[in-house]
Subunit: 318 residues, 2 copies
């Protein structure tokens, strides 16, 4: 296909502008993007994927920046996939992200890409794992997936990362704890950032006691670290702990298993999305919908009954 072979070569040769264009194609999920991925996937498997999530205001971006500086200092190369909350109410984060890109993005060894969220609530974009794959084939040593931990996104990130880091800040209150439930279940490393704030040690204790409720996941007990991302304090230890977790996964054969599970999850998502597209096309026509659904203000048919008709239609027409 026109241009695909050339772009594959540019990505594999480590050309930054080639990677940028490749990611755009992949995000568009068009035919060229899919052809490109087919060619890039066999060259993946070397980049280590670090997922970083946590509530808004926890200082994730700053932590990602300092962690990246550290990895660059060790001679590694880093790709960052930063997920922008698209909600108009949290739009302020976008500006901060752009400023950040200017300070980090132009340096050698680091490649930053901002992506839109799946919905308004901060999930990881469906194409994020494929963008990570492109960065992997490009030759980056680390890919950091950064997303706001609201709702669905923490599950998404755990489905895409080799190591999932959850960033929290000193604070208390029942409501905040309950919101963190999802985060507790998926974190492999916990970070209490802004640890110079009052209550940091108590928050560490709180997290540790919540973690005792969780089933130990195959021999790894999630450590709880303290950082002050803005000064770099604790970031060295975080990097070391990520490496420790990586070695744990590798020596136990768990990394390959995990990546396989993630791959299957991604595969399922793609298939379901394709089926949904098919369905939306089918239900998108207002006249068709009217004839199927009828007048629901009066007594009407069960949605399950109508669903069976639609499903029969998909079988017949596909």
């Amino acid at each position: 296909m026109s241009g695909v072979t050339e772009l594959v070569e540019r990505v594999l040769a480590g050309e930054v502008r080639g990677l940028a264009r490749a990611i755009t194609w992949i995000e568009n999920e068009d035919e060229r993007g899919l052809e490109l991925l087919d060619a890039l996937y066999p060259r993946t498997g070397n980049a280590y994927r670090i997922g970083i999530s946590g509530p808004p205001g926890a200082g994730k971006s700053t932590l990602v920046d300092t962690l990246t500086e550290h990895l660059l200092g060790q001679g590694s190369t880093v790709g960052i996939i930063a997920v922008d909350p698209t909600s108009p109410f949290t739009g302020g984060a976008l500006l901060g992200d752009r400023i950040r890109m200017q300070s980090l993005g132009l340096r050698d060894g680091v490649f930053i890409r901002s992506m839109a969220t799946r919905g308004g609530l901060g999930g990881l974009s469906r194409s994020a794992p494929s963008v990570a794959a492109a960065m992997d084939a490009f030759g980056l040593d680390y890919v950091i997936l950064e997303t706001v931990g609201v709702g669905q996104s923490e599950l998404d990130i755990a489905d895409a990362a080799d190591t999932t880091v959850i960033v929290l800040v000193p604070e208390s209150g029942d409501s905040i704890q309950a919101m963190k439930a999802g985060l507790m279940e998926i974190g492999e490393i916990f970070v209490v950032n802004k640890a110079d704030r009052e209550g940091a040690d108590m928050t560490v204790q709180e997290i540790m006691s919540m973690l005792t409720l969780k089933n130990s996941s195959g021999g790894w007990d999630p450590p709880v670290l303290k950082t002050i991302a803005s000064t770099g304090e604790g970031v060295l230890e975080l990097a070391a702990t990520i490496t420790e977790h990586r070695e744990f996964l590798e020596t136990n054969g768990l990394l390959a298993e995990r990546r396989r599970v993630h791959f299957v999850t991604q595969l399922r998502e793609i298939v379901v999305a394709e089926l949904e597209k098919d369905l939306y096309a089918r239900l998108g026509d207002e006249a068709k919908l009217d004839s199927l659904v009828g007048d629901v203000s009066k007594g009407h048919r069960s949605p399950y009954k109508i669903a069976r008709e639609v499903l029969d239609g998909i079988t017949r027409d596909r």
Copy 2:
């Protein structure tokens, strides 16, 4: 089908134990449940659906209780669908709910059903709209859908309710505001509960200023009320405001339109879920998966390429 006709008659006759059994069938989504729904749906359309959501600890349950008492006092009948967070970290809510059922659940005119969430994060169960339909056909005047506003659930509730009420409490902090973004977008009535706490007026102001960022949705400006659910203060005004919103929807022809949109959303969810089931059955066989996915620890094929093979298989086999 065995027993379906009889159970339909019992539900339509207003027999409480018949409704309880019907809901169990519906939740199981088995053939009998679907037959039952087919028979009940034509008798729906009278119950008014109130969605109540908000963060954990906002006092939703108490507010639902006092609102229910008020509606019962007016001679109305009420069904409550309370969604239990199933996460081990918020399990405490279950006990409170059971205590509540004893104080309200045995009285005439009210029917309470607790349901499990979709995942660990507090979404509305997929069968909740159908359970509401059964309560509707049974003859209840109001169905209150109560769910914790974390992640996906607030979207779910807005997809099922005629009027969506968001309950918040006096508090501040950027991170909490950002988490509320999703709630802001779907609320039609806002309640600052525990309004005797410090900062209540400031929270009201905050919500109102966030609401000015939102596009006015067709002529209804969401009011922000103050309540103290534990003493009943402000609940009368809340009930009146819900009625006001209902009249607004009805006089503008928006209620029928909204219910139609909700019905189509539910229909789509059912169809997608069926397609997913099909897919999971197809991918569930480990041997099949292995042959499809191959060894992902080495370089491997693009998930999009494999997805196309799976989709071709669905077309061929269905």
